[in-house]
Symmetry: C2
Subunit: 206 residues, 2 copies
Amino acid sequence: MEVKGFLIVLSGPSGAGKNTLINRVIPRIPNLKYSVSATTRAPRTGEVDGVDYFFVSDEEFDQMIADNEFLEWAEFVGSRYGTPRSFVEKQIELGHTVIMDVDIQGALQIRKLMPDAVLVFLLPPTLDELRNRLNKRGQDATDAIIKRLEHSAKELEYIVDYDYYIINDDLDKAAERLVTIINAERCRVARTDLNAIQQLWQRRQN
Amino acid sequence: MEVKGFLIVLSGPSGAGKNTLINRVIPRIPNLKYSVSATTRAPRTGEVDGVDYFFVSDEEFDQMIADNEFLEWAEFVGSRYGTPRSFVEKQIELGHTVIMDVDIQGALQIRKLMPDAVLVFLLPPTLDELRNRLNKRGQDATDAIIKRLEHSAKELEYIVDYDYYIINDDLDKAAERLVTIINAERCRVARTDLNAIQQLWQRRQN
């Protein structure tokens, strides 16, 4: 049975744990490909160019916008982030599931361009927990964290535009839920080649 | 987080294995309730009134139709089958998931009355396999089986009106898929009380 490829967008407040969750889930699902974003922000410790992000200069980012190379892009706390379109489109054509993490505005842009994309909202358990995580990560100044938290509380109202939500209060359970959502979406009639089903039945009928 | 109740309709050709699959899945999911149908057909060996079906007379069935007690009903191979409305509505109000098996026309009737219902099409692996199963069950005359098979092949085209499909070529795998679909549907934003999410966040924010 041919399953059509599709895009799964994991989104939610910064610090919700999107990356950690994706890294947990990718090894558990065959043909699940990670869409690497481009960004103008500096690499954090341990981040690898081309694996975690494509780290590009402001000029390169401008050129990618001009070339219409982004499925979505956004500025966030002074840096720009974008999803290169060609990789996503190619993988979907091959029948693969593509997973990406993106902020909430980006997810809503993608929804407009790809109405078939599956949008998952990842919630940190509470705002207090989110504050702890951002403090622990230690990469942002206090005023940047306060900005992020205010932003997150406001962004919660966009959850109504999403298909699914996951509360990230337990990483194992959250991973289990994301795996469940992806596997269920693969059972959707709309994602399946109906000719293949009918041919299968007709062939055997004779 | 309050999850709203919903109805999951397992449907597909007679002999696809709907009952067996439901019996596998119910013990694995909390708050999953089976909707018992009413029927005018005679009980098969081992079937219990009020558990497998409510076995009613033609007159009782007529009265239930007159009283608008059915969510759907249909005649199939000389017998009538119907879904009592009150049980389903009460369980959904309680936040439970209700599962039922019904033929394809019944599923389409339910879709009209309850657009929020989740429709799952259960396919036997092939028409040949379906013929073997119906012969093995031994409860139908040969001409009834031929009628059912012709009916099934035609009904396949209604799969496009369904949300999900499951091929019942392996009972364990099919059960796993149905569990996955139900669990994923419980993560849907549309099935969740958004006030509960927002209250949770606001309470902790202070």
